[in-house]
């Protein structure tokens, strides 16, 4: 009964001093909403960044021989095998020299489609079958794009001519996640490499994490040292080398200090509001003390009032921020706004302590103007 009546008194007082109550609620709403929005927005941006950084295109390294005139120009098979075995390498694919497999004249337009021999050196094959079956040595599969361009009917009767030999086309494929050479694959035919491949024109590595890119490149350059550094080039996404900088500049540290600043300013304003509240109701409190309220009851009523107002404001602010964030990319973790609302309410309680103490320890007799 006592607590219920204290709550009723607090709410009644909040209703009577509407402007102060609105100020306390608004401050809590802005604080909670601001913090939820800042953190949520930062989390979304960080998640987007992480998704980008973890994409195969950022995690891929393409090592390319600069010339392919003779077999000696190719990347040595032994070194490539060692590179594929490096720690941090998830997938490795070797490609032969690019050969013009087929040309066709279609309505006065010469169509040319690349042909590769590929070897899966580590992990998944470089293609994903979308029709037909996996090729064996001496057979080929075609990307959907190449099949369309060459008007091939796959896999029933299609074949291509490579070095004057007919190669049957037994399936179609797509090649997602191969970084720089994805586009090249998208318009090509390919065959599995024979086991006696002596070297590769291109090697594509997909590393486990963007942070592995630089260490794998360093190791690759050591392993290809005897081949000659001017005889090959390495391509990679520059963002991989800047992972730490990108994460640092994604705003997390800035958000943390801004959120703390909002909380501190919010707490100070809430404390000021509670203080003003206590001063404005000095006479009311003195009357209650004369009627038998203890100091703890006076203190409790003021703190409850602040807790209720900041709780309502924080919940509304967190809800509004969540709704705003939900229109952006990425899912919102509901624990975050709930935690922010709870935390801001708690701050509201602490902020009310000085005002509550002022109210509880004032001298009621003096305020009631004892002569």
């Amino acid at each position: 009964m006592t607590v219920l009546r204290l709550v009723a008194l607090a709410l009644g007082h909040a209703r009577r001093r509407m402007i102060l109550s609105l100020a306390a609620t608004l401050v809590a709403a802005v604080a909670a909403g601001g913090v939820v929005y800042l953190i949520g927005d930062s989390t979304q941006r960080s998640n987007e960044l992480l998704t980008t950084l973890n994409s195969p295109s950022v995690r891929s390294i393409t090592i390319r021989a600069n010339t392919d005139t003779t077999a000696a120009d190719l990347l040595p098979a032994r070194a490539v095998t060692n590179i594929a075995g490096l720690e941090g390498v998830d997938r490795a694919v070797g490609l032969s020299r690019v050969q013009s497999a087929t040309t066709a004249r279609l309505r006065d337009t010469q169509v040319s489609v690349g042909y590769f021999v590929t070897a899966t050196l580590k992990g998944e094959p470089p293609y994903r079958l979308t029709g037909g079956r996996a090729p064996r040595t001496g057979e080929a599969i075609t990307s959907s794009s190449a099949a369309t361009r060459l008007r091939l009917s796959v896999p029933t009767s299609a074949e291509t001519r490579v070095d004057d030999e007919l190669v049957p086309i037994v399936g179609t494929f797509d090649a997602p996640g191969l970084g720089a050479i994805t586009d090249l694959f998208d318009a090509s035919l390919l065959s599995p490499a024979p086991s006696n491949a002596s070297g590769f024109f291109v090697v594509v590595l997909i590393v486990h994490a963007p942070a592995d890119v630089i260490s794998v490149i360093d190791a690759t350059e050591r392993l290809l040292g005897e081949f000659g550094s001017n005889r090959y080039s390495v391509e990679y996404d520059a963002r991989a080398a800047e992972v730490e900088t990108l994460v640092a500049t994604s705003g997390r540290s800035g958000v943390r200090s801004t959120a703390i600043a909002i909380m501190v300013i919010g707490a100070l304003v809430e404390a000021a509001v509670a203080f003003v509240n206590a001063v404005l109701q000095r006479r009311e409190i003195a009357r209650r003390r004369a009627l038998g309220f203890t100091r703890s009851m006076v203190f409790g009523a003021l703190v409850i009032e602040s807790a209720v107002l900041t709780g309502i404001g924080a919940t509304l602010g967190a809800f509004a921020a969540t709704v705003t964030l939900s229109t952006g990319a990425g899912a919102i973790d509901l624990a975050q706004p709930l935690a922010a609302a709870g935390f801001v309410s708690l701050i509201g309680v602490f902020a009310a302590l000085p005002g509550g103490a002022l109210a509880a320890f004032q001298d009621p007799a003096r305020i009631l103007r004892v002569p």
């Binding site: 006592t2 009627l291 309220f293 002569p371």
Partner: protein
Amino acid sequence: MSALVAIDDVGFRYGRAPLVLRGVSAAFAEGQVHAITGPSGCGKSTLLYLIGLMLRPETGSIEVAGQATVRSGDRERALLRAAHIGFVFQDALLEPSMTVLENIAEGLPLSRSMRRHRTEADSMLERVGVSELRNRKASRLSGGQAQRVALVRAMLKGPAVLLVDEPTGNLDDTSAAVVLGALFEYGRQPGHTCIVVTHDERIAASADTVTRLALVSV
């Protein structure tokens, strides 16, 4: 008749100011109405606040409802006030933005619900002639009406000691008669006592005892 309030050799001063009260002793028996009178500045209201445990005497002792109070803590004094003492202030001291019933409810200890005292409150409002105003905001009451509501607020919890400061100071004769009638009726019940600070000699003449205070000579 036993004394509900007993004060013995009480002295008091505000801060470092000269003494307002010196060596005041009195006993206020139950079932009686007691008047405290004296010239302005002699400490009548101060004595009332001392008995109401809102101030602590510099010297002497005060006993309320059989309990010594001088050494008791703030919480103990507040609870004693809530249980045994009712205050009627000179200017009624109602909360203007609250209704009559809300103001009356504020006089009850927090552990008691207005719902259980509603019939009693209605009957008391009826007794002092303001029952039709129960839902009116206090800001819209006249001085006489506000004083009657303040009286009901003080009496509803049934305090043993009813302390009243200048009850008729700003009232017309009709309101004054109603308020005094209710006060005297309440104070003369067994187990109750009513202590009235007043300048009005007619009230003092009607009271069962009169304590006359004099200015403390410096």
